[in-house]
Amino acid sequence: MDKALINKALAVFENPEDSKLIAHLNSCVHCGLCAESCMFYLATGDDRLIPAQKVELVSSIYRRYKTLTGRVAPVLVHARELDDETVAEMTDLLFGACSMCGRCTMHCSIGVDIAYLVRTGRAMLANMGMVPESLQSTVNAAIQTGNNMGIPTDELVDTLKWLEDDLRDELGDPTAEIPLDAPGKSVLYTLNPREPKFFPLSISAMAKIFHLAGESWTLSTRMYDVTNYAYFSGNLEESRTIARRLEEEMAHLESGKCILAECGHGSRAFRWEAPNYLGHSFGFEVLTSVELIDSYIKEGRINPDASKNQKKVTLHDPCNLVRNGGIIQQQRDILKAACADFVEMNPHGTDNLCCGGGGGQLAMSEFNERRMKVGKLKADQIRATGAEVVVTPCHNCVDQLSQICIANKLNVQIKTIAEIVADSL
């Protein structure tokens, strides 16, 4: 492999800004006890997919090029050359066999941040221009068109206008609206582009909640995409570009709060990662719509009627929102207020099983077979609850859950938090 290309990959190890990377690269003791915490291993039984193997891929390259023992006695510590074979293995394991859900991290006997090291490995591949084409095309669409599905602005506006008409009919209130590009509002609400494209009713559900809560809000037609798939591809510069656009739109519309639509990775990328991509704190508040809806209920701004949702409901916790974002109790409080019969999956909360669609898996069609195998574990979990409705505050999870429910012949509805709450109002 070309030395210049290798150096690009190794750049992720150069001049670390803090001790985090070094600490985690040197910590794995190969105990293998992380295996049963990984859905990919559990679903396939493939020993290569054990989380420690993914750590080993990245840290073995680090040892080869950045440690004395690895340079002098590579065989002793299994220090690997970065060659074509290693790159192929990295692509398969780090992109195709990990959703970066972080379940293994939480249960690691040592405390190695395995998901963080997987992302480091992805960043190495991104530096070499070796992100799977399918994932990269999603990022490219976001960079080039402003949203990851390449939805033209006039199509978005048309969709929002008929949603607004429907909302007025439903509420019998001609003042109900879906404001666009309105400056000086308290809230700028974002969308996952899947919503205008495939799930428009989740937008009208949120609009209904905003209207009944008396919120001052707007959508932007210029920058509304909450997602940031560059977080998954590992390309820091592209992550930064996408994040900066939303920050600039907040300034442009002079909004006080950025409310992130129901999207696990989008919430994580903007709430937790973007300030670090950009190197500064935001001058505005960033909240997820789950937190906002929870606050509306607790402040009495909306009053859900649980009797309007009589079906048995269960909750799927999106990994990036819960395990990696600390939004754990709010969605439970909402569902207890809005549903007559809410049951938990087992396990749930920070121990939840990933749906299998995270980490960019849904965008990478070349790994579909493995993704659907992983999804079966989630389907079994849903079946065991006996629920008729699965609620999840993440459009990515909605997509994966919809697919696995069909594949596994589960007759359940998949809804977002906003949809189930809107049904109860």
Binding site: P16, E17, D18, S19, K20, I22, A23, H24, N26, S27, C28, V29, H30, C31, G32, L33, C34, A35, E36, S37, D47, R48, I50, A52, Q53, E56, L68, T69, L76, V77, H78, T105, M106, H107, C108, S109, I110, G111, V112, D113, R271, W272, E273, A274, P275, N276, L278, G279, H280, S281, F282, V286, V322, N324, G325, G326, I328, Q329, T350, D351
Partner: protein
């Protein structure tokens, strides 16, 4: 001091110096500067990371693998006791009598735990494909160190040379391979505590 004590003292100095280098490098690099506004407490996260977060009740790696987890815990306890005994040996304060007998019995158990872990690494396929020579060598050296601690405790002064040679080998190897997790384990759990603490994941339990 005789030659083998000098040898071990020198190895101890090299080992401590190298491990301190790793520690100072971590300290110099410092903790991540996070610009995202916190939702929880980093301090609480770090506290949880080193306490409840390590309990068998909270970690799948522990409660799904209790025999291995217990063996690991016992083995590590034996290592620290053996290191303490080595220091005492170099200070000519090695225990004898009842204390030596109790120590010998306990470290015998801990070295059996070490052997169990080593045998498991050889026998279980998924561990075998995960392992490199360093994994076997590290486990072997630490287990031998514990076994020779027992021999020294039970056999008396005549076993001191071989005991000190084994100890020196372990000390010289420690900073080179995975045994340096003696330092990095604490760094990793500290970092994890910061991550989950700041995000309010480990401060709400």
């Amino acid at each position: 001091m005789n030659w083998h004590e000098w040898l071990t003292t020198g190895a101890l100095a090299v080992c401590l110096g190298s491990l301190l280098y790793h520690l100072f490098r971590l300290v110099r690099l410092g903790k991540p500067h996070d610009y995202a506004s916190p939702a929880g407490s980093e301090t609480e996260g770090i506290r949880y990371s080193f306490t409840s977060g390590m309990s068998p009740a909270k970690k799948e790696s522990a409660y799904l693998h209790l025999p291995t987890y217990s063996a690991g815990l016992i083995y590590h306890t034996g290592t620290f006791i053996s290191l303490a005994l080595l220091i005492l040996s170099l200070l000519h304060a090695f225990p004898d009598g009842t204390l030596a007998l109790i120590s010998a019995v306990f470290v015998s158990l801990t070295s059996a735990a070490g052997l169990f872990i080593l045998i498991k690494r050889v026998a279980v396929r998924k561990l075998r494909i995960l392992s490199n020579p360093d994994d076997y060598l590290s486990n072997l050296l630490v287990t031998l160190f514990q076994i020779f601690t027992v021999i020294r405790l039970a056999g008396g002064e005549s076993f001191a040379p071989v005991y000190h040679i084994i100890s020196a080998l372990l000390l010289l190897y420690m900073p080179l391979g995975k045994l340096k997790h003696l330092v990095y384990f604490f760094a990793a759990r500290y970092q994890l505590g910061i991550f989950y603490g700041r995000r309010g994941v480990w401060t709400k339990h």
